[in-house]
Symmetry: C2
Subunit: 193 residues, 2 copies
């Protein structure tokens, strides 16, 4: 077995703060975050190759054909996917590669990559999640209620993940995830003789 | 699911220094080490209840009858076992309980307690293990060679453990084990709702 990095799936309801946790993890020079590809148009301020790889529909379909995605899905008429090549080359260099994806995407990744490590970021409570969603001050009441409903559904599915970390504070949550990644490398099945 | 402590099996070849690592772990107030019971006679300096619980053959057999051991075995005509009651009461108090036992004992524990966490302490290399065994200066050449042979056998069986930690330095090895215990508590299957 080679001393490869880990494929790490991180999911969690909108408003849990998993984006901030992932940013904190990126400080580590052995951690990389996969940039998703999409066929949707860039929004203002979104940078190609940083927020997303913006692809034409043809380019995306060609990449599907070449088995170029770890997982992909269609959502509101647009494609979204996690490009395989960059992730695999980082892992071969010993980097842990984080995919920040939805619960459905996680299932697809696990099917093809059973050795991946899946982590669900849980809000401390539904009350705190609601506060965080309202605190943004950018969403309508209807959107907030829909997100809370969706969060409940996602939390029900969290038992399918390997690990559940609670995002009480960003530092603690990132430290917990670092500990999980360290421990995963000590698993006997990954031991390099 | 209750917020119980973990049942932790630690094994490793003689001379790996696992005893020193376990002593280091005992500094943690949430970690307890199970004291084995035996029917063999105390050696000089051995204290009842600290090094072993010294039992008569009758008392040991009665405890077997009452299902009082997590595992037990016969070795050179004497019985050795891990008492169940103390370990379970510590775990209910939220303590992690370490059993320092042989590879065979680990298998028996796993059969009855599949949720236990098993950790194999590996020497950095066979050369270092040999140096450590010779460094004690107390064993005959024959005993050293027999221990090295046995170590090789045990290392072959290390793949059955959940985790493998290398004892390069006691501090690093103990830190790795602490990280494993922390991560195990973050596993979704142990998540307390």
């Amino acid at each position: 077995m080679k001393n490869d990095g880990l494929l790490v799936v991180i999911s969690g309801p909108a408003g849990t703060g998993k984006g901030t946790v992932v940013k904190e993890l990126m400080q580590d020079e052995k951690i990389r975050v996969s940039v998703s590809a999409t066929t949707r148009s860039p929004r203002e301020g979104e940078e190609n190759g940083f927020h997303y790889h913006f692809l034409t529909r043809e380019a995306f379909l060609q990449m599907i054909e070449k088995d170029g995605f770890l997982e992909y899905a269609q959502y509101c008429g647009n494609f979204y996917g996690s490009p395989k090549e960059q992730a695999e080359s980082w892992m071969q260099e010993g980097m842990d590669v984080i995919l920040e994806i939805e619960v459905q995407g996680c299932r697809k990744i696990k099917e093809k990559n059973p050795e991946c490590v899946s982590i669900f970021v849980m809000p401390p409570s539904m009350e705190v999640l609601e506060q965080r969603l309202r605190g943004r001050g950018t969403e309508t009441e209807e959107v907030i209620l829909r997100r809370l409903e969706r969060a409940k559904e996602e939390i029900r599915l969290s038992a399918d993940y390997d690990y559940i970390v609670v995002n009480d504070t960003v530092e603690q949550c990132a430290a917990d995830i670092r500990c999980v990644l360290k421990a995963e490398k000590l698993r006997a099945k990954r031991f390099v003789k």
